[in-house]
Symmetry: C2
Subunit: 198 residues, 2 copies
DNA sequence: AATTTAACTTAACAGTGTTAAGTTATTTTT
DNA sequence: AAAAATAACTTAACACTGTTAAGTTAAATT
């Protein structure tokens, strides 16, 4: 029943991550202080620094987890038995849905600029996995001769720009009088698909 | 030679705006404190609060100025003698260029989420002007029967999503191994245009 | 000449991220 | 079994932050 010490230690790191993620999502990164996180988990603020370099590092670790989740979601779509173009469409939609379902989270991951000295080292290491999943979906469409261009990287980055654009606009400019949400998202995806189609 | 008092007062507001903009651009909104701004202009920190409600308000006022500049830039393109589709293309490119030329500035305007109680009141009052300039450019293309859809708002929002996407990605994910910048921007614009074209 | 107003400052509050030093309990070594 | 080392955590403090209430000083108005 009782956990031994190493389990408790391992748990504490995850406990901090869980508490921080929940609070970042609920109140926004800037509005959550190390002291508040510490209070929530019942430790002193400085304990967090035993597990994470600083507040930015804590954010980065949470980003990694979320990137990994998004990558799994998109990846599982690619294993459905549908044509490559429809799977690409579904992948794009999953990306947007992921962002809109976790707006504060998406903000933290993709919108907020994370300037850290060590950022270059591990930046997007899981984010790259998610992007590469998109690339392989695009690659499948190219193999099926469905696109007018065969530069996988260029097309994938263009698609990413499009879906990141609509996702982040809907999140950060919530006061703007956008068209009906589903209709707008459909239009963005169909415009992108139609723009790269053969 | 010497300015009278009302001129000095009027100047001080602009002086604060100029100093704040320069520092926000150079160091990022979060890294500039009211005290640093005050020191730069040679007044006490609290003086700023005589001209602006709070730090967020100061940011909003700067945004308004920049929106207005962007709107003028795009608007002047629409008065060239070229076909409506090319002018639309040039407008899209001007938007992206504006963002990349003033990355910290763009960040402050379009990327950073500005949650203020009074935001809804004046949010994007100049931003709307910029957006409406894009709308009228789209509208011209529709009049010339060049688009496959005639929903001006929907198309404009889709285009905005695309150009905002590439601009903000290039700014905030500068560590990502993007394709060659000009090639990528061209591809985004051509994909969007080709996606809405008749 | 007295009063009001405008423009600005001082001092302070309540918070922030972060660090250095200290404590306590457990584990390892002798 | 006693001593030393380590791990896990806390206390106290530093140097900041945005913001406000109260105070000052000089000019304009009555």
């Amino acid at each position: 029943m009782a956990k031994n010490n190493s389990e408790i230690k391992a748990d504490l790191r995850q406990e901090i991550l869980d508490a921080a993620r929940e609070m970042f999502v609920a109140e926004g990164y800037a509005n959550v202080s190390m002291r508040k996180i510490a209070e929530k988990i019942g430790y002193s603020p400085t304990t967090i620094y035993l597990y994470f370099k600083d507040k930015n590092d804590l954010l980065h670790q949470i980003c990694e987890e979320s990137f990994a989740q998004l990558a799994r979601n998109i990846s599982s779509i690619q294993q459905l038995s549908a044509n490559s173009m429809d799977k690409l469409r579904m992948g794009l939609r999953e990306y947007i849905n992921f962002g809109l379902k976790h707006p504060s989270h998406y903000e933290v991951i993709f919108i907020m600029p994370l300037k850290s000295e060590v950022e270059a080292e591990y930046e997007m290491s899981q984010g790259k996995v998610a992007f590469e999943t998109l690339c392989s979906s695009v690659s499948d469409c190219i193999k099926d001769n469905l696109l007018k261009n065969n530069d996988v990287g260029l097309i994938s980055q263009t698609l990413w720009a499009g879906i990141h654009g609509i996702t982040s606009l809907l999140i950060t400019h919530s006061g703007f009088p956008f068209a009906e949400r589903e209709k707008l998202i459909d239009n963005v995806i169909e415009t992108l698909i139609s723009g790269i189609e053969a």
